[in-house]
Amino acid sequence: MRNEKELIEFIKEKLNPLKINKLRKNNVVVQLNNSELVSGLNFLKSQSYSHLATISCVDWIEDNEFELVYHLFSYQDKINLSVKTRIDREKSKFVTIKNLWKVASYYERDIHDFFGVEFEGNDNMEELILENWNELPPMRKDFKTREYVDQKFDWRQYHGQE
């Protein structure tokens, strides 16, 4: 049973995180660089952080980077640990963690749908949620929904009471 401070010391010894801080009660964020992420996740999984809630992706368009956030939770420590890493926005390539958690293959497929991030090692990458979508992946910040909607669906013309 570790509280947040012990967890932070523990991670500092075992992995060399770029950044780690305690956001608030039982909510800790740690940032690893992307080469050590898979080994870090594997290590944390063995340390009772076995519940992978989900994988999120944030598009930091100013720093031209995607940020992949892996949300882990441990039933012993009762702490939400978010493990983050940044990947380049143009190449947008990353390694799959399918062998750690099989369910991650669908989370990655979902991120591929919305952000266009390629995950090597994850073989079925076809469209999960969208259907023959051939524009820019929609959740990227540079995909403008209003222009797309005006161009594809036209509005109902409200004419007065004639």
Binding site: R24, A53, I129, T145
Partner: protein, 369 residues
């Protein structure tokens, strides 16, 4: 496996037995499913993109439309995320009212899912009685918040307005009515019905090792023997001020999950009674200034709440602006609805596919978003 012997079946979006607008395309041979694959995405409206275009307060009516079965859970998680990033302390009475609303929502969601399970095996009388009982809870919601299903009642900083005393009295009367004459006859019809028991026993098995590996939470996990409940693990609202126990099942089939949901209804009734009896007075919301100018500092938070079907989490990122920078919704049935179909469904029979989907609480708008 050669596809020639197998026939493809679309347990597709347009099918009376499927929960919501969602499809499972599976190959079957004889009567058993050999290979299955989810066909999701029919309810995708791009919530996360829409949320990035709207100010904080404008998202509250949008957020409750993500999952139709439990709109209040989404409102609560959104409000908790906003308050977590903005370090806002909600007044005591608002916490109590929020927990009352969440428990009422849990009761109606459990009754609805028990009804859905009965509909999947043909026990239509129980489904009718269940939806009738649920309707009286919607009347209470309508009296408190003005809306039957979408309430837009829990918002960042507290609750929209206070609950009057006679409404509390009505809630207590409804709970007595539910406990004394509505639920007992549903109990006799479903839980003492030998044919129903035969249909549910040893179907839709989800053992503990699979559940933990997939990240499944809620009644499906508690049916395997672990008493993990976010209300106990990370208490929110007024859950640390009430005592209730978390029912746990032991052999993780559809029958155990049904009994678990029924026990949780009685636990929720107990919680609401405790909450109403010692609710403190005081303001109901924190004054955060002009609603359209809500602003919280740059930061992020992963908050989660125990919905009727498990852990419901939001990952919210704010860049200090008027609009959220990114909101990622983690629905409870995401692991089962997507990967679970491919991994756990092969081997079941055709009759048990709707039982599998209803009893594990697959709610498609959560993972379509």
């Amino acid at each position: 496996m050669d596809k020639s012997k197998m026939t493809e079946m679309f347990f597709g979006p347009n099918h009376p037995g499927v929960p919501g607008n969602y499809g499972i395309n599976y190959y079957y041979e004889g009567d058993t499913v050999i290979e299955a694959e989810p066909n999701a995405g029919h309810l995708h409206r791009g919530f996360e993109k829409l949320m990035e275009e709207r100010e904080w307060i404008k998202n509250t009516p949008l957020v409750c439309r993500i999952c139709v079965m439990e709109p209040d859970i989404n409102e609560m998680v959104y409000a908790m995320g906003y308050e977590a990033i903005g370090e806002i302390e909600v007044p005591e009475r608002a916490k109590y009212i929020r927990s009352i609303i969440l428990e009422l929502a849990r009761i109606q969601a459990h009754i609805f899912s028990i009804g859905g399970n009965c509909g999947a095996i043909g026990l239509y009388t129980a489904m009718q009685w269940g939806v009738l009982a649920r309707d009286y809870i919607l009347d209470i919601f309508e009296e408190i918040t003005g809306g039957r299903v979408y309430h837009i009642y829990i918002r960042p900083g507290g609750v929209r307005h206070d609950i009057k005393d006679e409404t509390f009295k009505k809630i207590l009367d409804l709970l007595d009515d539910l406990e004394n004459n509505r639920l007992p006859d549903v109990q006799k019809l479903i839980f003492e019905n030998p044919t129903a028991q035969k249909r549910w026993k040893d179907t839709a098995i989800l053992n503990q090792e699979d559940a933990l590996r997939l990240g499944v939470t809620g009644p499906s996990l508690r049916a395997t023997g672990l008493d993990h409940d976010v209300r106990k693990l990370m208490p929110y609202g007024a859950y640390d001020k009430v005592d209730f126990d978390v029912p746990v099942g032991h052999n993780s089939d559809a029958w155990t999950r049904m009994k678990l949901k029924r026990d949780e209804i009685f636990q929720s009734i107990k919680i609401i009674r405790q909450l109403i009896n010692n609710i403190p007075d005081g303001p109901v919301t924190v004054d955060l200034g002009n609603a359209l100018k809500y602003k919280i500092p740059k930061g992020e938070a992963y908050v989660k709440v125990e919905s009727a079907r498990g852990e419901y989490g939001y990952y919210m990122v704010s860049d200090g602006g008027l609009k959220p920078y990114r909101v990622h919704v983690r629905g409870t049935s995401t692991p089962l609805g997507l990967y679970g179909v491919e991994a756990l469904l092969p081997g079941t029979r055709i009759e048990d596919v709707p039982v599998w989907a209803h009893s594990l609480g697959i709610c498609p708008p959560e993972f379509d978003r």
